[in-house]
Amino acid sequence: MRLPVADSTALRAHTGLLLRRHRSALGRVLVLHTLAAAAGLAGPWLLGRMVDAVADGTTAGFVDRAVGVLVLAVLTQTVLIRYAQRGAMVLGETVFAELREAFLATVTRLPLSVVERAGTGDLVARTTNDIDRVAHTVRFGVPRVLVTTATITLTLVAAFVISWQVALGLLVGVPLLLATTRWYLRRAAAGYLRESAAYARLNGTITESVEGSRTVDALGLGPRRRERVDADLREAFAAERYTLWLRSVLFPGVDLSFVLPVIGTVVWGAYLVSTGTATVGAVTTIALYALQVMHPIGELIFWLDEIQVGATSLARIIGVDAVQPDRETRADARPRDEHVVAQGVRYAYREGHDVLHGVDLDLRVGERLAVVGPSGAGKSTLGRMLAGIHPPTGGTVAVGDVPLVDLPLEDLRGHVALVTQEHHVFVGTLEQNLRLAKPGADDDELRRALRAVDAEWVEELPEGLATTVGSGGWALSPAQAQQVALARLVLLDPHTLVLDEATSLLDPRAARHLERSLSAVLEGRTVVAIAHRLHTAHDADRVAVVDAGRITEIGPHDELVAAGGDYADLWRSWQRD
């Protein structure tokens, strides 16, 4: 399952909303930038005046006064730029902070079934890469676009004010500029995305080679890894060549459309001077404007490019808003007892392709049920249904006569919990990690929970419960991390647990040690254990064999062995005595 990406309508609506919310700050910044740009136009204008004045024969006093005005203009521009830039950057920071905080708030509220199915890879990519890309656009792009737009607009306005007749000469470059820019922008974003995808692939190849260096060595994969690097570089080269070609069209087009207005102004201006419509100074000023406006236009094109790339990331960020809730909870739902029953449960990840074909299961309170069966039979899916993660496509799973999916998530957690192979230690102190499960717990309670799962090592930590753990902090071994996860369960205290091969990914020795910790947690609870090792089944109160989306056999181990079905065959081959 993939997380949604916002379409262009949603993107525009969202951007509009964002701009409207900050319209006063935005307005202030725009006014300041426009004024700053206006002050920046004084140089060429005064130079034009001086050219005329010198030609007419003027005094040193005039020159001094003119330069005095110029200095004043520069000082004004300096002050204006200072506040305009600061305003723009602070605005960028504010908008971006809002954006990322809203994103994370949405993400941490995503429906349970979406999180379980979409996996975290895509979300991590959105939280890191996409947020970073938008950051670049919002922090640097937005201020620069404001400045350049203001400068360009104002330069043109000034040129027309000084002599609209001469300024017409500036327009000679516009058609070429528009045509090449349009042509380029239509292709650029895709081209640059292809480039970054190619580099991402190259980095992936290097990561694989290094992480799998023993496998590379063992199987003699060296030549293949080198071929792969070369193939990735070939693709990166092709991508670079494409964007280089785009720029090979863009640059001459833009450069030429910068040179043409200068020539256009001079020739057209000379004609106007000869007819007496314009002065040499006006022509000089406007020709200098034409030179001066080159830089902001080039920068604007550059940013339009980046903004396109930023927009695709923004679409992925706000796309998360479009995820629909997966259940409608009833706040008044109160289960009568701790009895979990599944009736006619069906489930399809894709419509028409049922993974479960009407499973009935009546869990006895306090029993241990082992679920066995070949991979892909639907064991994990059944586990998720029993834990209330996914609403079933058909049938119900209820606790005390209340369907699990009617319970608010906060309540559901107190009834049934799913324990998977996954364990994650969050960056933070150990107590923060534990209090997730019970925010009000005091230190004694936390210590009791840790003792219950045999985690005596806590006492040896440099700062005990206050030790910072997780990536970058004190490194916990996988077994210790799993014990933290188990202690959380003790604090959460649900009456029913669904274990999906909870310790199967640990190394054998750690698993043996954890068995004790796990028994402490299981004490006094109803347990459904999905397992691929048969001794688990042997020890359970009942065993359910799942095959092809159905429970084909269910009963105590001894009865199933005596019945002589599939389970009995398997047990015998395992046992062999």
């Binding site: 941490t108 980095n203 290097i206 260096s213 000089t284």
Partner: protein, 623 residues
């Protein structure tokens, strides 16, 4: 345009960073030279624009569309065209210089790490090795990108200097000395800005880590609660980043203002001085315009010079890291070093003198130990896999010949070790399975059947021609292990060593694999490290290892029924695996004896995720 990557990236000097940079430069000297020419062309044309414009102001503008004006305009157009052409050709050349250097570096690193074995991970963490390709090689490229502009800028600066001095010595000197002074002042202001930017980058890096960490553990967060606490923490850090950003904005806006102020005042001074000269008739109004243009233009070469210095220092730091990777010694096991393509005729027992292990030629033997690590270590030693085992080359004999005399490439060809956490690689499944590139369709099918991996074909769109995602992420943990097993079987080596090949699969599947594996390898030397009775019952011989020595050998049944102390020890190990000897307390559920599959919890997340996909695709396949 030369096609990249290079057929052979060459052998760089590993002595020092400057030597490396010089070596790269020599490799693309022609391109660099051509680029310098265009750089000079662009810069001179840029410098010529104000000059021609000034000439036009002096003569021509007054007289309307005179011959002089047309000539001047044509000159302007000519300069413009030179500029346009030099710019675009120059850009093409600078990009070629950039990718030439950076691709060569990436290729060198990418090729080298394929020859070092795991020694490279001992030298540097994976992230840093990847960073040499992901960022350091690009930094190296930047030096060659900027060189032409730097050289062009220098030349333009000198040309303008002469033009200015020719018009007015005072003004010329003022411009040439004043501008570097302005640049130096600006460089001083940049320092505190860089400090604040660094602080913001760090805060923002922490924020990204926090976000990624929260999202990585999201399934747990949603499962047990604590979302609000995390959203609050993120918000607090995010506000800290914002506050840092505001501090950056203070300094940055000050710098931006200075960038307007200093050149602006300088320009005003030039205009004032120039206008005074013009009034006195020492220069023409046109020359005044030219001066104005130069003062604005000259900031460009200055910028290029600063950039060149900055990128050079970044590149030197990057090259040092690259050299650390390139200096890691190669193992000498790469197949390219296989001098004799046809291995000497096989046969003969595999003997490890240190443990006393003798694997009879053509037999399938299982190694069992109370400490799974011990047998795993012994197994990898048999194939001299990994830096830690290289010293044992004299202790292992194959057909009476010590492995030390065979050479590592030959050993790899004859003895294949498949460890318990083998890695899958991105690529078409067929190629990823058939790593020696010699298997026929029949053999592929047989290996997949033996590893009971046919379901992978269903779950992977395109089957054998489907693409395996990075590190096999699109497959479940069990599928990855079975694909890796099929891959090892397909190498069809004289000796195959498998470490815990079925630890992540369910009992049904394990039973099938055990039976088929022994059938497939019948008559070919095979060593399996396992404690599973389903496998042990099938092999020709079981060897019990304790404290690094072989302590018992026999068949599974024989050892189970035996009465010796060794047989008792064997029963203790095996029965714990089968857990028919339940401890007093009820053995917990859900625990299995499997090995860790992946380095991080993200991998595990993917495992579960793909289990779902697997189930979904199975449902599809059944229809």
């Amino acid at each position: 345009m030369r096609r990249l990557p290079y057929a052979d990236p060459g052998t760089p000097p590993l002595t020092s960073a400057p030597a490396y940079l010089w070596w790269v430069a020599r490799g693309q000297a022609g391109l660099l030279l051509a680029n310098a020419v265009t750089g000079i062309g662009s810069a001179v044309a840029m410098a010529a624009l104000p000059y021609v414009l000034g000439r036009l102001v002096d003569g021509g503008l007054d007289d309307g569309l005179s011959r002089e004006l047309w000539l001047g305009s044509l000159a302007l157009l000519a300069v413009g065209v030179v500029l346009v052409v030099c710019n675009v050709v120059g850009h093409r050349l600078e990009v070629q210089n950039w990718i030439g250097a950076s691709f060569r570096t990436s290729q060198l690193v990418g090729h080298h790490v394929s020859r070092t074995g795991d020694a490279v991970t001992a030298e540097l963490p994976t992230g840093e090795v990847v960073a040499t390709v992901a960022s350091d090689s690009l930094r190296v490229g930047e030096v060659y990108f900027i060189t032409a502009r730097f050289v062009g800028g220098l030349v333009a600066y000198v040309v303008v200097a002469f033009l200015l001095l020719d018009s007015s010595v005072t003004l010329g000197v003022a411009v040439l000395v004043g501008l570097p002074a302005v640049a130096a002042v600006l460089a001083l202001i940049v320092r505190p800005l860089q400090r604040r930017q660094r602080a913001q980058r760090e805060a923002s890096g922490r924020l990204t880590t926090l976000g990624a960490d929260t999202v990585s553990g999201l399934r747990i967060l949603r499962g047990i609660g604590g979302e609000d606490a995390f959203a609050t923490r993120y918000r607090a850090q995010s506000q800290q980043v914002r506050a840092q950003g505001v501090r950056v904005a203070q300094t940055q806006s000050l710098l931006d203002a200075m960038q307007a102020l200093l050149p602006g005042l300088f320009l005003a001074a030039v205009v004032w001085f120039g206008a005074r000269l013009a009034l006195d008739g020492e220069i023409t109004p046109g020359q005044l315009v030219t001066f104005y243009g130069y003062a604005a233009f000259l900031t460009e070469p200055l910028q290029a010079a600063t950039q060149f210095v900055q990128s050079m220092s970044r590149a030197l730091i990057g090259v040092r890291k690259i050299l650390r990777v390139l200096r890691v010694p190669v193992t000498g096991a790469d197949p390219e070093l296989l001098l004799d393509a046809a291995p000497p005729t096989g046969g003969g027992d595999l003997v490890d003198t240190r443990s006393g292990l003798v694997v009879a030629a053509g037999s399938v033997v299982a190694l069992v130990s109370a400490e799974p690590d011990e047998t795993a270590r012994l197994a990898t030693r048999l194939g001299l896999l990994g830096a830690e085992n290289l010293e044992h080359a004299d202790d292992i004999r194959l057909g009476g010949v010590p492995l030390s005399t065979l050479g590592l490439a030959q050993v790899r060809r004859r003895v294949v070790v498949a460890e318990s956490t083998p890695q899958l690689f991105t690529g078409v499944l067929r190629d990823e399975l058939d790593v020696r590139g010699s298997a026929v369709a029949d053999a592929l099918a047989r290996a997949l059947e033996t590893a009971d991996a046919a379901d992978v074909l269903d779950s992977l769109p395109g089957g054998l021609d489907g693409e395996v995602a990075e590190k096999g992420r699109s497959l479940s943990g069990g599928q990855r292990q079975r694909v890796a097993l099929a891959r090892a079987l397909l190498t069809e080596p004289e000796v195959l060593v498998l470490v815990e090949p079925t630890s992540a699969v369910d009992a049904h599947t394990e039973a099938r694999i055990a039976e088929r594996l022994v059938r497939l390898r019948k008559g070919r030397t095979t060593v399996v490290v396992t404690a599973s009775p389903l496998v042990l019952d099938r092999v020709d011989e079981v060897v019990l290892v304790h404290d690094g020595r072989v302590v018992a050998r026999g068949t599974h049944r024989g050892l189970l029924d035996g009465a010796t102390t060794e047989a008792l020890a064997y029963r203790a190990v095996v029965s714990r695996a089968a857990a028919d000897d339940v401890p007093a307390a009820r053995a917990p559920l859900g625990s299995g004896h499997a090995v860790d599959e992946g380095p991080g919890s993200t991998d595990r997340a993917d495992t579960t995720e793909s289990t779902i996909d697997e189930e979904a695709s199975r449902a599809t396949a059944r229809r």
